[in-house]
C-alpha cells in the first residue's frame, strides 16, 4: 500500500525534527494533502497509529490532522481556472488544452510538540 510508505516517510522526517529539538514528544502532525494527490487520506489515517507505534521514537501518541486542499486546473484556451475535479476538459469552453496548477502535493504543514 502506497500510504504505508508515505506514513513511514513522514514519521522519519518528524522524528528527525524532534531530535533537532532536543528529543521533544510530538503531539500532533498536520498534513496538507491536495485533492488529486495519489495519497488517500482515509488510508493514511488507517495506518497512522500502527506506523507510529512501530516505527517512531518521538511520535508514540501522535495525532494526525489532515487538511485537504482544492485542486485547480488552468485552461490555455480561455485562460480561466477551474476545479480539477471537473476533469481534463475545461467546463467553461470545452478545450482539453488544460493543466494542473496545484492539488497533487502532500506537505507536512506543522507539528505540535511538548
Amino acid at each position: 500500500m502506497h500510504e504505508l510508505g508515505i506514513a513511514f516517510h513522514i514519521i522519519s522526517e518528524v522524528d528527525k525534527i524532534a531530535e533537532e529539538n532536543n528529543g521533544v514528544e510530538v503531539k500532533s502532525v498536520t498534513l496538507e494533502i491536495g485533492e488529486v494527490s495519489t495519497v488517500v487520506p482515509k488510508y493514511l489515517e488507517d495506518v497512522w497509529y500502527w506506523a507510529c507505534e512501530h516505527k517512531s521514537t518521538h511520535l508514540k501518541n501522535c495525532k494526525l490532522n489532515i487538511v485537504v486542499t482544492k485542486a485547480i486546473s488552468f485552461c490555455n484556451s480561455c485562460q480561466k481556472t477551474y476545479s480539477t475535479l471537473e476533469g481534463k476538459k475545461c467546463p467553461n469552453c470545452g478545450s482539453e488544452d488544460t493543466f494542473l496548477v496545484e492539488g497533487n502535493q502532500t506537505k507536512i504543514k506543522s507539528i505540535e510538540v511538548v
Partner: protein, 222 residues
Amino acid sequence: MSEVRTILLNRSIADSIEEEAEELRQELKKRKIFLLNVMSSPGSGKTTTLIRLVNLLKDKYRIAIMEADIDSDVDAITVARETGVKSIQLHTGGMCHLDGSMTRQGLEALDGEYDFVILENIGNLVCPAEFDTGASMNMVILSVPEGSDKPLKYPLMFEKSDLVLINKIDTLEYFDFDYNIVENFIFNRNKNAVIFKISAKNGTGVEEVSKHLSSLIDKWRS
C-alpha cells in the same frame, strides 16, 4: 507540565523523498556501485530476465540482487539457485513500492563489496514509478501478452525508465502486439529511452542487453 508549541514546517513529502534518493545515488556513485532498479507488472519476466543477465555478467562484475516482494522468498531463492550470486529478499510488508530509505536498508543488509547491484522492484506499473529509489538507472520490462497500450495507460513508468525491454517476443504470433505503437509512444514520452526486444525464456536478445548494461556500468564507475 511543559507547554505545547507549534513548529511550522511546510515541507513537501515528494521533495524530501527525492532528496533522500538523490543523496543515496551520489553516495553509490562515489562507492562505484551501479544500482539498477527493475520494474514491471507482475509476471512480465523480471526474475527470468535478471537470471540470464546475471549469468552473462557475473564473471565481469561482483553482483548482488535485492528482491522486493510483499511477503514471499520465492524470487530470492530462485535467483540464488540459478546464478550463485548473493541475493536477499526485502519484505515490504504490504507496501506497493520502494523508496530511497528502504533501498538503503537493503544495501546495508547485503553486506559486502559489489560493483553492480540489482533491485527487483515490486510487480506494479504504477506506484514504483512515483518513488525514486536512488538507482543509477531505471529499467522497465513490458511483455508481449500485456498489450501495446501499456505505455499509453501507464506513461509515468515509461517516462522514468531509460531502458525498456520488450519481453516474451517468442509469443508474438499469439497476440496482437504492435511494436511500432509501443516504440512511438515510448519515444514520445522519453526521447532518451533505449529499447530491446528479448525472450528471457529462450535467451533471444539478452546478450545485447547485457552489453549495453555493461557499458552503462563501466561509464558510471569510471
